[in-house]
Symmetry: C2
Subunit: 657 residues, 2 copies
């Protein structure tokens, strides 16, 4: 039954040799890996406006104009980080996530810090994206007869998480097909909105509306536009960058040649991202949109632009936004299990995370991510804005470590090339030239040609930019929640090291260094019985076969009720006199205590023999029948596990009905 | 750690031979067994008034005067039922609960119906009593600065249930000492209130207060005083009878001579109960008290009587009321586990209920009762009045069956005495006379002297009275919740019979009818391994010792990753070449499937040998380390339990840190 259900939902098992078929084309990869990055354009502008609103409410009506320089600044940062990650893709074709890059180049600790911040980030991505997706739906419902849906936003979030988790348990390729349509619908609708909106503005201008009191970012109070506030707005807008690293983590999922395809996809994605983000910010500025609790900024813009007969496009855009935001969570569902499996393989996480399920998916990672993000959504009652400050700290920690690692990578590359013999250098150059021919067609591809110097400079620029943003972020957002992440990351790192220490300990204990000398040992066999019945006969038979002269096998009966004991003694003589019966008194009516004492006694007496406890075990015909039996066999087995040198044997007796 | 905590809370184990020391004196037994019956006087009068209020609100102001005839009627019923149960105590000195009496005299089905209604009743007693006790506290708090406690009544109820359950897990005698003071404080304070209240009324009369709108019983609407309403009020008042059977269930807990002590205690209890109940009803009538949601009726009476300098007595009375009501729940904690253990011994309930814990208490019954009554309180949000109709149906079902059973008991007694020879009759008479001397001192003791005829008449009267009340109850209360119990009782009876059927089936399969012929069989041994390390060496050693020529022992390795498999093969040749190694491919990366297929294959090939699977099992040094290992041994063991004729062996390997 359960098995059938699992097959229906998750699909049939896939054999290991089909692993390489589960690869993504560039077009599908763009949908799978860029939904996170692209979808953030749906809320990044709003997060900037919410901080600027602090000054607007204070009375400085011009503050909203700063959305334009801030957005341009973020776009430049985005281009730098994107280029920087492009270097990583070529240097780490097997997947250059921040964890791997930082660990290999900076050492284990920085690697673990990067990994911890990424894990936190993935969980937050799922929560924030799903919550924002639901906000798009409830925004569209404003003013219609479906406005009541906003009362059920947490429930909607949880249903969506379950849906995405199931899709991911089926496997990555099917997810790709499933998720392409929303991503392209989102790009199409946002491009449509920007083009139509700009055209409309240039031709007709905007009909002025009465000014609303804007909603202020969580934790702020009205005040003047200080540098701190300006930087806070910039920090908030940096959520637009989240997800840009997704491609560099997922290179092995691309079709061959993986690196080139991944790099091309990254360039496409960065250009799209900058275009959409700047477009939305400019529209927000032109159409004088003010952040509000009831409706998102993009929803307000689209509602103004697509009024009258074009209103269907507004609903289409909101649907596409909701869809891509919900699917942005999917990026994390692709990357979280991959990272946990890497960590598990390096023994920093329980090895269960490294087990591939029968659909070639790291199922445990998928399930853990779904549970954690659901908990977070319930705790924060589905409120996106309160999660944003927690979110971007982890992102920029991993960005900074990853770029810094790349800088050291190129320095090492340089050192290696210096010690190369002339012949090797020539070979390497020839190889690089052949790559050059392959990759020259790509837009802006100059890394492989120009060698380590350019790469180093690009990555250094990226690292410095990210480090500066990280410092700004921590300073401006610490009291607004960033401190949680600052505490959480060290805790997770300590946990990683604890797990690793345990595995190292175990490995030390288990390693065989010389051929073991096996001793020939005798058996002493104990059969605890609850009475004389058919259920114990197979156990007695097995026990007898273990010890040839039967002197070393004995049945043990715990006496609680004297009348029952006399009965057992009598029946034993009639039916089972082939083995001695030991009767143990139990003054406190416990089964376990006298039996364990006896077993300890026997095993102390016989040092060089195996003490084997043969347990007759009832197997009922129906699972719920288990509640009707005492389950003493399970208790005894559990207690025996902690006795050194005592071996427990289960001899099942199957009830037929 | 856990063991220490258990000892600190529950106490040290008590050996079986001390069982007979755990007996109660009459004075303590009255406290333990009558708290349920006596405590109902705290709310029985109010339940009558709440139904009469239906007519008062309708406009018939005289309706409240009917509280007097109704209370007198209930007192007569109470005397009849009390006398009837006195017969039972002598006829069933080892404990004559409704289950035993009905089963022995009427047959199994009536016995099970009685048992089911008692179980339902015990759970409801705990919920109703604890809720009413908390109502006494919140009533006393009205008008003080502690009025806020009424917002936390459900939490208070749950804390009290946990407290009572723990007291009962310690054992019955210590509970008795603990619970005597509140019962006697309650009797003292209620007698004080009745005497003082009557005196005050006769001397000073009552200062008239403005009439309040009375609270109406749950489920009623204002209407005239019909016969149906009158009977409804009578039915509600019959909650005063609940708990009267407690002594007859608990005779074995009395000191010797058990029956006589129990009978004396029952007479004391009945007299006290009638006195207190009538007293409260008369006071309610004299002081013109009106039921209200904010304060209980007894609290209102006591507040009027003990005003001014005597106010401390009001608080003392409320405290005693709360205490006895909470402890009334304790009667159920004495009887529920006793009844479930009887049912378990008769195989109508899982045998776990028949296990006496190390404090000579049927611990499982205590825990189950605590859980069920807590659930009920949470479901009904601690509202007593809604539970009362559910409550009394079960009580009267068991009363009726028990008394009817006694009628048949005496008829059978008569038939037996007729076939006695003359000599036996003389002996019996002499014996009865000697008893006569013993018991003649008891108030109203005439049963033993007058023989079966009087007894039969008393029990017949009791049975008819209870049957009539039951019919009235079901008719007047069916729509108000009694239907739930009418559905629940048959469901529980069906469950009883299902459990019994299972045990009968098992017994049929297990019974040995001839001496088993043991075959001498060979061993085929399989050792599943995850690699070559110290953890598998003990298992290999054990497996080798099972099969002397080693041909029939083999290690099995499941190949998922070809590189790892090659490594294992190499290491096997170096370290463990004393046994053949079988490598099984697993195209879907499952450990279990290929292993089980192989085991099935081997066990089909070798029909007359034991197929033994030896499992190397890691035992980590700390329990939480278990989360860091794959636990495949547990999965394999669970799967093997369902293979016929396959035996699983656990060879533990203990990690030291």
């Amino acid at each position: 039954m359960w098995s059938f259900l699992k097959r229906a939902i998750v699909g049939n098992p896939i054999p290991t040799e089909q692993a390489h078929h589960e690869r993504l084309s560039k077009r599908i990869a763009l949908a799978v890996f860029s939904s996170d990055a692209l979808s953030s354009t749906a809320y990044a502008t709003e997060e900037i406006l919410r901080v600027l609103a602090v000054a607007v409410v204070f009375g400085q009506g011009h503050a909203f104009t700063y959305v334009i320089p801030i957005s341009v600044g973020i776009s430049i940062l985005l281009a730098v980080v994107g280029m920087s990650y492009r270097q990583t893709i070529y240097a780490y074709p097997s997947g250059g996530g921040a964890y791997i890059v930082a660990k290999e180049n900076l050492g284990t600790m920085p690697g673990l810090v990067a990994a911890a911040s990424l894990l936190v980030d993935y969980v937050l991505t799922v929560s924030v994206s799903v919550a924002a997706g639901v906000a798009a739906i409830t925004s569209a419902a404003q003013g219609t007869s479906f406005a009541w849906v906003s009362n059920h936003s947490v429930a909607m979030c949880l249903v969506l998480i379950v849906f995405i988790a199931l899709a991911n348990l089926r496997g990555v390729k099917e997810s790709g097909l499933l998720f392409s349509i929303p991503t392209y619908a989102f790009i199409f609708s946002f491009v449509g909105m920007i083009v139509w909106g700009l055209g409309r503005y240039l031709m007709f201008g905007v009909t002025p509306t009465p000014p609303l009191e804007p909603a202020i970012a969580e934790g702020y109070h009205p005040g003047p536009l200080t540098l701190m506030l300006f930087l806070g707005a910039f920090s908030n807008g940096c959520t637009a960058l989240t997800g840009i690293e997704a491609i560099s983590n997922g290179i092995p999922a691309f079709r061959k040649p993986e690196s080139r395809n991944a790099a091309t996809t990254l360039v496409w994605m960065s250009i799209t991202l900058i275009g959409l983000f700047l477009g939305v910010s400019v529209l927000a500025y032109f159409y004088k949109v003010v952040p509000s609790e009831a409706e998102t900024v993009t929803s307000q813009i689209a509602r103004q632009i697509f009024s009258g007969p074009m209103q269907w496009f507004f609903f289409f855009l909101q649907a596409a936004t909701a869809a891509i935001l919900v699917l942005a969570a999917n990026t994390s569902f692709a990357d979280f299990p991959r990272l946990t499996s890497l960590l598990a393989r390096d023994r920093f996480l329980p090895r269960q995370f490294a087990n591939q399920g029968d659909r070639l998916v790291f199922s445990n990672g998928v399930v853990v991510l779904a549970v954690l993000s659901s908990l977070l959504l319930v705790m924060f009652k589905g409120d996106t804005h309160r999660l944003i400050p927690l979110y971007a700290v982890g992102v920029f920690v991993s960005f900074t470590l990853s770029q810094a690692g790349m800088v050291l990578h190129w320095l090492r590359e340089r050192d290696q090339s210096r010690v190369h013999t002339a012949a090797e250098a020539t070979k390497r150059e020839r190889k690089e030239k052949s790559k050059d021919v392959d990759t020259g067609r790509l837009i802006g591809d100059f890394t492989e040609i120009s060698g380590w110097k350019t790469s180093l400079m690009i990555n250094a620029l990226g690292a410095i930019a990210c480090a500066v943003v990280l410092v700004v972020f921590v300073i401006t957002k610490f009291v607004h929640g960033a401190w949680v992440v600052c505490v959480l990351i060290p805790v997770i790192v300590i946990m990683f090291r604890g797990v690793r220490r345990h595995y190292d300990n175990v490995a030390d204990q288990l390693v065989i260094t010389w051929k073991p000398k096996l001793k020939q040992r005798k058996h002493t066999v104990i059969v605890p019985i609850s009475g004389i019945h058919n259920g114990v006969i197979p156990a007695l038979e097995y026990a007898r076969s273990l010890s040839k002269d039967f002197k070393d096998a004995r049945a043990v009966y715990i006496s609680i009720d004297p009348a029952a004991t006399a009965q057992v003694k009598k029946e034993w003589e009639t039916y089972a006199d082939f083995m001695p019966l030991v009767i143990l008194d139990s003054p406190y009516r416990s089964l376990l205590k006298p039996l364990m004492d006896y077993i300890d006694e026997v095993s102390n007496e016989n040092e060089d023999t195996f003490v084997t406890v043969v347990l007759p075990e009832f197997v009922p015909a129906r699972w719920w029948h288990n509640f009707l039996h005492n389950q003493s066999a399970i208790l005894i087995k559990a207690a025996l596990l902690f006795r050194r040198g005592v071996i427990s044997v289960s001899v099942p007796y199957h009830l037929t009905h």
